[in-house]
Symmetry: none
Subunit: 225 residues, 2 copies
Amino acid sequence: METHDGRNVSSREKVLAAAAAMMAENPAANLSVRAVAARAGVSVGSLRFHFPTQDALQGALLTRIYDHFFPEDPIRDPALSARDRLVACLRQILAPTGVGAEARKAWETVYKAFIEPEQTADLRSTYAGIERESLRRVTYWLSIMADEGALPRADLTPQARFLLTVLNGLSYERALPSSESLLQAETTTLYLAADAVLGTGRTGERPETTSASTGQFAGDAGSAP
Amino acid sequence: METHDGRNVSSREKVLAAAAAMMAENPAANLSVRAVAARAGVSVGSLRFHFPTQDALQGALLTRIYDHFFPEDPIRDPALSARDRLVACLRQILAPTGVGAEARKAWETVYKAFIEPEQTADLRSTYAGIERESLRRVTYWLSIMADEGALPRADLTPQARFLLTVLNGLSYERALPSSESLLQAETTTLYLAADAVLGTGRTGERPETTSASTGQFAGDAGSAP
DNA sequence: CCCCGACTAGCACACCGTACTAGTACGGCG
DNA sequence: CGCCGTACTAGTACGGTGTGCTAGTCGGGG
């Protein structure tokens, strides 16, 4: 916690860890400046120094989560419930999108590649390949969960397509100028989508069951001191 | 106008009118208690008396506006089931997107308006207004269905946001070169999304005592009344 | 008559995000 | 060595939000 030793791990990291932990305990929690600062044991001034705006905090937290949420495919992780695993996997797809300017850059690429140019048969087939690849990946995850009985063994394509649509919407919203906190909205939406496919968690239910999953990465981040 | 004549038209109506006017002038405007009260020429206390919570104000305003502008919203069609009505309403939002080249054109507009240019505060607020408008509309639909008991009465924002994300994903996919039959996939996805928020369509489908009293708003500043 | 309920006004409170200032530790430089 | 600039922290202040509480006004019915 020294002010200026070689590693400035002190405050910035503590804040991030605290915020992650709070998110883990309750995804709907309000990550207010003071709450996070208190939890991290730093002052709001320090927090503001490292994260000049609330958006910055949320952005950093978002990238942190997606960065090392899980290095490899968490689909088989036995420590996680089905819906947590599914959400983690979906986040894997969402991760390369990035946030903020990065997300906009990604969308520029997509736009110039597939939407702006003339729609030739060649272009179509190229995109069809990409789409099929994502679809295959999601379907693979779903099939594993179907094996576990988490959802009925039937044609999983509609569900997979549905999830892909949600992911498309989310990445789209990442590129748009959203003034509101992306973090919570995105998490909630992901769990809603997972529940829709898995049949778990009726509407009114709170997603507090996620503490297991997010808690893991939170502990990872906060283990510094 | 008098305080207590037969009709209490005085304050309640003035507040509603003021709020509607403010929203008409600037959809991105923040309908804060004090701003609306000042505009209406009443005190925040009076406003609070008629609309005990901000949600109540927004709800009343929402019904008023949409009843006036969209009298034949399919949301009221008694011949349709809840999920059919919801899907029909969602299609209303999706409709202006168009399909094929038209959808790409629409997307180009959005791209050049909100993603490509520099992200100024002005741009942000403009988009925030649009987003909030859509969110309001969807929330309105959901609130009606909540009145019917089709889904638990709680904070409908997450669900509405979820549906908007799905719509965003769908309109995005309309712009992309998709070789397969868009219509069927879209319909399936829409119904999956509707089922996700309504809780219908699942194999088990237990009516289940909705945990209405859940303090699902632990995140809501923690000030539980 | 007086009292009661509908209504109004206004302030107080807790919380939010952000700006700003004072103070402290450290490294480099004359 | 002393000095200064940089990095960082703490604390406070300001304007904003939604909500609760209390005192006060009005009109009509016991």
